[in-house]
Symmetry: C2
Subunit: 187 residues, 2 copies
DNA sequence: ACAGCCATGTAACTTGTTACATGATTTT
DNA sequence: AAAATCATGTAACAAGTTACATGGCTGT
């Protein structure tokens, strides 16, 4: 829904053609959330099918798309109503840990460390981006970047509390708890 | 991928049949992330197609599914490798705000307030759940609940910084900036 | 017998996503 | 003329999701 509503919201601003939609979207996210051009066209055609968008004008293969009244209404509702619960969405890393603690054969602390390492690298990357913005630089970009950084930080803190929780629990841990050996699995 | 990998990880523990997978999954998430039974079967058949799972035994319509070596390997990789970037996933509410600040006709502060209100309600709901656990109550459940609460809190903080950012920016705001009147949009 | 649960499954659909094809225009 | 870029689009697939159908077994 994110993509289609985004395109619709952009068309609510002014009529646009396909590539323009892609560009505006990517500019507003500073290139962090790239959007395949093809997806713009598939999404647009689905919006057209649903009567939220119509072809306004075609000049020389260039197709200008226009939002309909129904579409305008959808956008208004989208902005008015809060997005559905953050909790409702299944979260891969959370499921992974939830299942890991149920599996006696898995060394959960190793899993946590691996995840945290990746998160901290990602965090560094985005903090660097913050001081050295790419092109757009405006408000949209700062909002987006903040959201990413906040999310990563929260996740790292969550991993920390998981670690202490697991340490406190008398969960039967693997043998080599003292020196966590690198037990690489070979294909 | 979340669902299929989850099922695979559970089958890595022991062979199970369809409903059992559903039940174990839902118990591990304390019912917060319900899983439609039908989806278990569609997902299992896809795993079978990909050679990660095989039918071990069929007794009287009850089908026991078993993980294959290839499946076991997938699970090992899943636990070893960190989940893909938290930042990579497009986030509806973030896109919504990013686009909202670009639209002069939208009152961003109203949008933020509406989102925050919903988040705080959700937060309250899950904090209540924390003191009054449903059934499972064990480690998996705490881990899951923490993740949800952390995520919501981070999002609320993010909304706050967005608000100050927007206030600081000299973005041309709607007329009624001084006393934010309840300007309900009627269909 | 009937209600309700256990258990399996499928058809249909949505959203996201990519790889590929096509043609026009512009630059080198 | 060749390469690059603009611009459009389609076929195909992955993953999630639900509504519905089927049949067996159990308790009342």
């Amino acid at each position: 829904m994110s993509v289609s509503m985004s395109l619709l919201a952009m068309l609510d601003e002014r009529p646009m053609y396909g590539l323009e939609l892609k560009n505006v979207f990517e500019e507003s996210t500073g290139g962090v959330w790239p959007l395949n051009v093809g997806q713009v066209y598939t999404t647009i055609s689905r919006l057209e099918r649903d009567g939220l968008v119509t072809l306004a004008e075609e000049t020389d293969g260039q197709k200008l798309y226009e939002i309909t009244d129904a579409g305008r209404n959808e956008v208004a509702v989208w902005f008015r109503q809060p997005s559905r619960g953050a909790a409702a969405t299944r979260d891969e890393i959370v499921i992974k840990l939830s299942l890991a603690v149920l599996k006696p054969t898995i060394d959960v602390t190793t899993v946590i460390q691996s995840e945290r390492k990746a998160l901290l690298q990602e965090l560094q990357q985005y903090t660097r981006l913050k001081t050295d913005p790419p092109t757009g630089n405006d408000l949209s970009w700062e909002i987006l970047l903040d959201s990413i950084i906040f999310k990563i930080e929260a996740r790292v803190r969550w991993l920390d509390t998981c670690e202490t929780r697991i340490a406190r629990s008398n969960r039967p841990e693997l043998r080599h708890t003292a020196q966590p050996e690198e037990s690489e699995v070979h294909t």
